[in-house]
Amino acid sequence: MLNYVIRRLLVAVPTLLILIIICFYLMQTAPGGPFTSERPLPPQVLANIEAKYGLDQPHYKQLYNYVVGIVTQFDFGPSYQYKDRSVNDIISQGFPVTLTYGFISFVVATIVGVSLGVIAAIRHNTALDYIAVGATFSAQALPNFVMAPILIYVFTLKLGLLPGGGWNGGQWQYLVMPVIALSTSFFASVARITRSSMLEVLNSNFIRTARAKGLPETTIIWRHALKPTLMPVVSYLGPAFVGMITGSVVIDIYFSTGGIGRFYVNSALNRDYAVMLGLTILYGGLTVLFNLLTDLLYAWLDPKIRY
């Protein structure tokens, strides 16, 4: 097990390196640069600014310096767009915001989704099932960029219950709408996967055996059916978790949270190379980490899997 974890972490190093290289060269091929502006900079100014950020050096050297900076000093470089901030500043400000609303949304989506899925499965083909299925389909059909303005319209303008956006250090009033908007489509997916997986498990032989032995239904569901049901759910939740905590540009745009998703999109548009690379590494690292955790969870859920 430990060997497996170490091996996986070691493989992550070249994976991330390849990610950095691809990302770096993709950025370089995009037209325009960080200092392209409507009125072109005088050559001397451009030369100076490029020298300041090391952009006058050959690509391989820029890349090398960047990676060395990360490894030796954990320095992800400066932002070219926001001169008084480094990539580390941007991550340390935006990531906690995104992590907060992403994590809460994840928990909400998982609890609501799994409960709804299980209820729908054990009350298969009853009114409860139809309501649950109806709810998940509606939730899935409502993308968050439609949901967000509607929520703001209802809760802020019409009811006057919640602030229409902002973060304010993450007070709960500011969290409600981002969490609803972000978790909706996720809980719908979780519920649908849980429902179909549970239905399959409930029809399997070992459940029939358990029922034949006369075990009460609650014990069957909790003790025997739930764990195998969660297998496909977990494989969905791993990447979904990374997706949620690395932010949603839609949430950031509509709720002005100051989260990291908006920075990521902006960095690409502004050709803010270091910010873009830094955030890509963060996303890449988290993806690798949570894929590993998902695999470890598998082993716990399914005794047949051993590493």
Binding site: A30, P31, G32, G33, F35, T36, S37, E38, R39, P40, L41, P42, P43, Q44, V45, L46, A47, N48, I49, K52, P78, Q81, Y82, K83, D84, R85, I90, Q93, G94, A148, P149, I152, Y153, T156, L157, G160, P163, G164, G165, G166, W167, D252, I253, Y254, S256, T257, G258, G259, R262, F263, N266, L269, N270, R271
Partner: protein
């Protein structure tokens, strides 16, 4: 004398009370209006500003904040006229190439240091020093300061710049040419002073709230990137006694419809009106919806570099395309925010500029269309030989609507087929800057209130002249205008050349369409540059 903490607090309170008279719950010192208890102002920003460093900032949202945090030689009043800032007055020599500014002796930085002429010298050198890499360095060059070009090119030391602190309160500026509107340019943020010790101590980080030292009516107290920025009154500001607004908060809200919803819910005091919604909002909230002229133009430029569409070499084709654009459809049906139809490049409300008579402006649209069809036929284009060209704009819903409307007009009236292409901003700039287009969108907001801020864009040597229009006469007239005391005939001739040669299709001149809560007063609606000084705003009691 030994001070106990109680007496200290008492003393502090007393000085605070003396230093800042409590206007809250009082009346306005000059208008006598009853003031609200809560003197705070919250407004929407489209996106995070790039910087609050006067010499670095390049976006208008950042420039608005800089205007509150720093103060230059002159400010503008509600009508856009110059009023004293740090400078009380100035004199010039007969040749108008040496300006001497007398600075007030009570101006202070937020840390208590006196604002001196040396601070301006430092700021201006910093603007032009290639090491600063200011995106607005060209503005210093445009101001014709002696030595600016050499400093900017790295050929001379910044200390050779023609700006001198004669003494602490006298600033002398030498120009390479007589520039009648020089003083007007000192309201631009890039000419504001900066505090040398702070910049040197903190480097790029000096603009963070914990480091910044500024000399304006407000100080920066909080900045959460992409969320909010807060500025509060600067107790050291020389005119703090007459400043009423206590706190100004800018919130970054990317989506304009969400911003409008939040405005209507009372969370904002000011926001922008999304395109097309002005008539409805104006009907519903006549006292809150405002549309005021803005010093900006919107146009399409032909590529005249030789790389473009050969059909555009024919002036008849360019003229036909320009004539066939029904500006009223764009202003009244697409934008609906009181924008002005444009037949000249320079907005009509630019100071000291009278819109010249150009033939197309006085024609009816039916006459324009008839002439356009005639010209196209003469140029050899018709149903059997339709004109086909590419039309480029930067990605935006608004630009798309306008491009579609224009291309439809050309299709219906002239049978011409415009192939629309949009690119995201940086790619667009690169494409346009490399003359890799046929017809491209352009827009410009004046950096100062004088026609040359627009017409300079058509100078053959201008870095912004992406269409590469090249007219020796226009260049000559622009050079003459720099030093002329009567510029109107020169600008009239330039506009007439533009109207005949048609290097660009002027489409409309901007308005700023916004919602402002009724209780906020002092907004400079008549200032066409839309330079807002928060120290002049106040909130009245309901």
């Amino acid at each position: 004398m030994k001070m106990t903490s109680k007496t200290l607090v008492g003393a502090l309170l007393a000085t605070t009370l003396i230093a800042s008279p409590l206007y809250a719950a009082g009346t306005h010192p000059s208008t006598g209006e009853a003031l609200a208890d809560n003197q705070s102002f919250t407004y929407r920003l489209l996106d995070e500003h790039s910087s609050v460093d006067p010499q670095i900032v390049e976006d208008t949202s950042g420039a608005d904040i800089v205007r509150d945090l720093f103060e230059g030689l002159y400010n503008q009043d509600a009508d856009g006229n110059l009023v004293p800032g740090v400078a009380l007055s100035h004199t010039t020599n007969d040749a108008k190439d040496v300006y001497t500014f007398s600075l007030r002796d009570n101006a202070k930085w937020s840390n208590g240091d006196a604002v001196t002429a040396g601070d301006f010298v430092y700021g201006w050198r910093r603007l032009l020093d290639p090491a600063t890499a200011s995106p607005y360095a060209w503005f210093g060059e445009l101001m014709s300061i002696e030595g600016a070009s050499a400093v900017l090119a790295g050929e001379a030391d910044p200390s050779t710049l023609g700006v001198t602190a004669v003494d602490d309160h006298t600033l002398e500026v030498k120009l390479t040419a007589s520039l009648p509107y020089f003083a007007l340019m000192t309201t631009h943020g890039s000419t504001f002073p900066t505090h040398q010790a702070t910049v040197e101590a903190h480097g790029d980080q000096w603009t963070k709230p914990e480091n910044i030292v500024s000399n304006g009516a407000y100080v920066l107290t909080e900045h959460v990137p992409s969320e909010r920025s807060v500025r509060v009154r600067n107790s050291m500001y020389w005119d703090n006694d007459n400043t009423i607004l206590e706190t100004i908060t800018s919130l970054v809200i990317n989506d304009e419809n969400v911003a409008l919803t939040r405005y209507l819910a009372g969370e904002l005091d000011k926001t922008d009106v999304p395109a097309g919604q002005y008539p409805k909002l104006n009907a519903e909230y006549p006292d809150q919806a405002h549309s005021n002229p803005r010093l900006c133009n919107y146009y399409y430029t032909f590529n005249m570099s030789g790389n473009g569409n050969p059909a555009f070499d024919d002036v008849r084709v360019r003229e036909a395309l320009s004539l066939a654009v029904d500006r009223s459809v764009i202003t009244d049906a697409v934008l609906q925010g009181g924008q002005f139809q444009a037949y000249t490049f320079t907005p009509g409300l630019t100071a000291g500029f009278v819109t010249p008579d150009v033939p197309s402006a006085s024609m009816t649209q039916a006459e324009r269309d008839a002439k356009a069809m005639e010209l196209m036929a003469e140029a050899g284009y018709g149903a059997d030989n339709p004109l086909k060209f590419d039309m480029l704009y930067n990605t935006s819903e608004g630009h798309k609507k306008i491009a579609i409307a224009m291309s439809q007009m050309w299709k219906q009236k002239l049978g011409a087929e415009a192939v629309l292409a949009n690119q995201e901003w940086k790619t667009f700039l690169e494409t346009r800057g490399n003359q890799d287009f046929e017809l491209a969108r352009g827009a410009w907001c004046g950096d100062y209130n004088e026609a040359s801020t627009f017409l300079d864009l058509l100078d053959s040597g201008s870095g912004y002249n992406d269409g590469k229009f090249n007219s020796a006469r226009v260049d000559e007239l622009l050079t003459m205008a720099k030093t002329s005391s009567d510029t109107q005939p020169l600008y009239t001739e330039i506009e007439q050349i533009i109207a005949t040669e048609i290097p660009v299709i002027p489409v409309y001149h901007y308005t700023r369409v916004m919602m402002l809560q009724e209780d906020v007063k002092g907004w400079p609606f008549e200032n066409i540059e839309q330079n807002v000084y928060s120290k002049d705003l106040y909130v009245v009691a309901e």
